[in-house]
C-alpha cells in the first residue's frame, strides 16, 4: 500500500518534470528555427547557457535542497557577492594565492550555512527571516571590505578562468573557419555537482530524510528521523554550494563588487520552482532545477538575440512561466488530495 502511494506521488511530480523538459526543448528548437541565421543553432550557443549559468546552477542546487525541506534561502546572492569580494580583495590586496581563495570561498559558504542552519533547525526561526538577515549581513560585509570594484589579476586564477576545454564539436563561421566549441572548467564543476546532488538526494539516507521532513516533519519525527540534524545538514550543504557557486560566479566575472549578483537568489528560487520544486516542501528534483536554470538562460538568450525587445521581457516571461508552473503544481496537489 505504502509503495503504491509513493508511486502515485512520483507520478505527479514527474509530470511536472516532463512538462519542464518539453518546454525547454520546445523553446530551444523554436529559437533555433527562428534565429538560425543569428547563430542560435550553433553548439556554442547551447554551451554558453552552461558557461553563463554555471554558478547559478550550483547555487540553485542548494536552493532546491532547502526548498525540499520546506525552507528557503534568500541569502545566496549576498553570499556570492561576499565570496567574490573576499577572494578578490585577498588575492589583490593581501597577496593570497588562488588555492587559499577557493578555501575562503567554501569557508564563507559553510559559515553562512552553519549559522543559518542552526537558527532554523534548533531555534525554530522562520527560514525566510533568518536568511533575510543573512542577505543583509552578507551585502553589508561586502561593502565593509570595499565599496570599490576590485579586478582580479592573479595569474593562477585567471588561468583557471580562461582555460578553455575544446570539444570535438563545433561550427563554421560566416568566413568559413571551423570554430571548435568550448566550455570552461566552471561548467565541468557545475555538472559534477549536479550529478553528485542527484545521487545524494535519491540514494542516500540524508537525501531521503530531506524529502521526508519536507513532506511532513511531524510524521518524519515520529518515524524516528532526526529532523533538526537533517535540517542543519541541508542548510550546511546549501551554504557550501552557495560558496562554491559564488566561486564559479567569480571565475566568470573575475571581479569583486558590492552590487554583484543582486537578485541572484530570486533566479535560483524561480529556477527551482520552474524545475518542479514545491515551496511547501517535500517535492522537487535537482534534475528539474537544471532545466529551470536552462529555461531562464534560454529566455534571456532569445531576447538578446532578437535584439530589439527590452531586456525586461526576460523577467516578464519568467514571471509568466512561474505563474504557469505554480498553477500546475496546485492542480497536481489538489488531485493528490482528492485521491
Amino acid at each position: 500500500m505504502n509503495r503504491f502511494k509513493n508511486k502515485k506521488k512520483l507520478n505527479g511530480s514527474s509530470y511536472l518534470l516532463i512538462i519542464t523538459i518539453l518546454l525547454f526543448i520546445f523553446m530551444y528548437v523554436a529559437g533555433m528555427a527562428a534565429f538560425s541565421d543569428k547563430g542560435f543553432a550553433k553548439p556554442q550557443m547551447f554551451l554558453n547557457l552552461f558557461i553563463s549559468n554555471a554558478g547559478l546552477l550550483v547555487i540553485a542546487m542548494g536552493q532546491t535542497i532547502v526548498m525540499i525541506t520546506a525552507g528557503i534561502d534568500i541569502s545566496v546572492g549576498s553570499v556570492t557577492a561576499l565570496v567574490c569580494m573576499v577572494i578578490a580583495n585577498q588575492m589583490e590586496n593581501h597577496g593570497a594565492n588562488a588555492y587559499a581563495a577557493v578555501a575562503m570561498a567554501l569557508g564563507i559558504g559553510l559559515a553562512f550555512g552553519l549559522v543559518q542552519g542552526f537558527l532554523v533547525a534548533y531555534l525554530d526561526i522562520q527560514p525566510f527571516i533568518v536568511t533575510l538577515a543573512g542577505m543583509f549581513f552578507g551585502r553589508g560585509m561586502t561593502s565593509m571590505i570595499s565599496t570599490e570594484m576590485i579586478s582580479i589579476k592573479n595569474e593562477t586564477f585567471l588561468k583557471w578562468a580562461n582555460y578553455k576545454i575544446y570539444l570535438p564539436i563545433g561550427s563554421y563561421s560566416k568566413r568559413g573557419n571551423f570554430l571548435p566549441a568550448y566550455i570552461y572548467p566552471t561548467v565541468v564543476i557545475a555538472l559534477v555537482v549536479l550529478v553528485i546532488i542527484i545521487i545524494v538526494m535519491k540514494y542516500t539516507k540524508f537525501g531521503r530524510s530531506v524529502y521526508a521532513i519536507g513532506g511532513n516533519s511531524q510524521s518524519a519525527m515520529m518515524m524516528g528521523l532526526n529532523v533538526r540534524k537533517t535540517k542543519l545538514k541541508a542548510y550546511l550543504l546549501d551554504g557550501f554550494l552557495a560558496g562554491l557557486g559564488g566561486f564559479l560566479f567569480c571565475l566568470n566575472s573575475c571581479s569583486g563588487f558590492v552590487e554583484q549578483a543582486k537578485g541572484l537568489e530570486m533566479d535560483a528560487i524561480s529556477s527551482a520552482v520552474i524545475g518542479g520544486t514545491l515551496l511547501s516542501g517535500g517535492v522537487g528534483a535537482p534534475f528539474g532545477t537544471l532545466f529551470g536554470v536552462l529555461i531562464k538562460g534560454t529566455i534571456s538568450s532569445l531576447i538578446t538575440t532578437q535584439g530589439t525587445l527590452s531586456s525586461w521581457w526576460v523577467r516578464i516571461t519568467l514571471s509568466a512561466l512561474l505563474c504557469f508552473f505554480i498553477v500546475l503544481q496546485s492542480i497536481f496537489a489538489g488531485m493528490k488530495k482528492k485521491k
Partner: protein
C-alpha cells in the same frame, strides 16, 4: 481518475504549446523582417551594443544617441541589450553577440573590472570591441580596439580656467572655494577633482574643503549645509554634477545666503542637463560644463575607420561645451587650446532633450 489526470495533463500541455507557440511566432515574424533588411543591402554592418541600463537621463540620452546613429536607414543593424546594471548580463550578452557573429561589439561597461575572459573570447573571434563611457580595467589593452568617452580632467580644467577669467573680469579679490565631489573613485570624480586641485595651486585659490556628495541632490545639500556651518567665507562652490548643485543651492538659500552673479556664492556645476541649464539661465548656476552623452557619432567614426582598414586612435574624446550665465568670458584656453564659452539662452535649453 486516471482519465481525469490525463485530460488535465493534455490541457496543460496544449496551453503550454499555445503560450510558447505565440512567443515563437512573434519571434519568427521579427526575424523575418530582419532578414528582409539584410537582403536589402548586403553590406549592412551588425553592431551588438551592451548598455548599462536606463538609470539616468544621461544614460537614456546615451542609448538614444546609439540607436539614432546606428539605424537601419544608415545601413546598420543594431542589437541593443540593456544589462539592467548587471555585469553578468553584459558578459552573457557579449557571448551572445559573438555567436551571432556581429561585426562590432560596443560595450558601455557597468563595472570597470572583470572583462578579461569575455573580451578575450571576442578577440579570438576577431570581433573589434569599442568601449564607451567608463573605461575597462584589463590586463592587456589589446583586448579592446578603442574607447570613446569624456575627458573629465579637461572638463575640470575648462571650468577652472573659466573661473579664473571670470574672477579677473569681476575683480574678485580672493577665491574661497569648496568642492562637493562625486562618488569617490568614479572616473568623473577623479578627473574633475584633479582639475580643481591643480588649478587651486596654480591660481592661488583657497580650497577650503572637499567632501563627497555622491552625485545626489540629497547628499549634496547635506554636505553644503555642514560646509556653510564650518566656513563663513565661501564664495564659490564647485559641484561635480548637476544634482549636487541643486542640493547645494537649496542649502545655501536655506542658510539665508544668495546664489548668482550678484549674490554671495557662485555655484559651478557639470553635466549640463536640461534642468541644470535652466538654473544656469537664471544665474543660480554660474557655469555648467557639459558631459556629452552623445557617443554614437564618435563610435561611428571609429567603425568607419576600421571598415576602411585604418587604425583608429585608442582613446577618443567626445566634444564638450561650456555653458555660462552671461557673456563675461568669451573663451578659455586650456593646454594651449581655445574653447568657446556658450551663453545659455532659451534656445540652448530647448535643444537639450535630456
Amino acid at each position: 481518475m486516471k482519465k481525469k489526470l490525463l485530460s488535465a495533463f493534455m490541457c496543460v500541455a496544449m496551453s503550454a504549446a499555445l503560450l510558447a507557440g505565440c512567443g515563437g511566432k512573434d519571434q519568427s515574424a521579427d526575424a523575418g523582417t530582419d532578414n528582409g533588411g539584410n537582403e536589402g543591402g548586403s553590406d549592412v554592418i551588425t553592431i551588438g551594443f551592451s548598455q548599462v541600463g536606463a538609470e539616468s537621463d544621461w544614460r537614456t540620452a546615451n542609448s538614444e544617441s546609439m540607436k539614432s546613429t546606428f539605424s537601419k536607414d544608415n545601413g546598420y543593424d543594431l542589437i541593443f541589450d540593456d544589462a539592467q546594471q548587471k555585469q553578468e548580463n553584459q558578459i552573457t550578452a557579449i557571448r551572445n553577440f559573438i555567436q551571432q557573429e556581429v561585426d562590432y561589439i560596443v560595450l558601455a561597461p557597468v563595472t570597470e573590472t572583470g572583462w578579461d575572459t569575455v573580451l578575450q573570447e571576442a578577440k579570438d573571434a576577431d570581433i573589434p570591441v569599442i568601449i564607451v563611457d567608463r573605461m575597462v580595467d584589463v590586463s592587456d589593452d589589446d583586448l579592446f580596439t578603442a574607447w570613446v568617452g569624456s575627458d573629465f580632467e579637461l572638463e575640470g580644467k575648462k571650468a577652472c580656467a573659466w573661473l579664473n577669467a571670470y574672477a579677473e573680469a569681476k575683480g574678485m579679490k580672493e577665491v574661497n572655494i569648496v568642492d562637493i565631489q562625486g562618488t569617490i573613485g568614479a572616473s568623473a570624480q577623479i578627473g574633475r577633482t584633479k582639475g580643481l586641485e591643480d588649478a587651486a595651486k596654480e591660481y592661488g585659490w583657497n580650497l577650503l574643503a572637499s567632501q563627497s556628495g555622491e552625485f545626489t541632490q540629497a547628499k549634496g545639500q547635506e554636505v553644503m549645509e555642514s560646509m556653510l556651518k564650518q566656513y563663513d567665507n565661501i564664495n564659490v562652490v564647485y559641484c561635480e554634477n548637476d544634482n549636487e548643485a541643486f542640493g547645494a543651492i537649496d542649502a545655501i538659500e536655506a542658510a539665508g545666503k544668495t546664489v548668482g552673479p550678484d549674490g554671495d556664492i557662485l555655484v559651478m556645476s557639470f553635466d549640463s542637463t536640461n534642468a541644470g541649464l535652466t538654473d544656469t539661465l537664471s544665474g543660480k548656476i554660474i557655469l555648467d560644463t557639459e558631459c556629452n552623452p552623445l557617443h554614437g557619432p564618435r563610435v561611428e567614426e571609429i567603425i568607419k575607420k576600421l571598415e576602411a582598414g585604418e587604425t583608429p586612435d585608442k582613446l577618443a574624446y567626445v566634444d564638450e561645451e561650456i555653458f555660462a550665465h552671461g557673456a563675461d568670458v568669451a573663451s578659455v584656453t586650456v593646454d594651449g587650446k581655445d574653447y568657446a564659452v556658450t551663453e545659455v539662452t532659451e534656445d540652448v535649453i530647448s535643444q537639450r532633450a535630456y
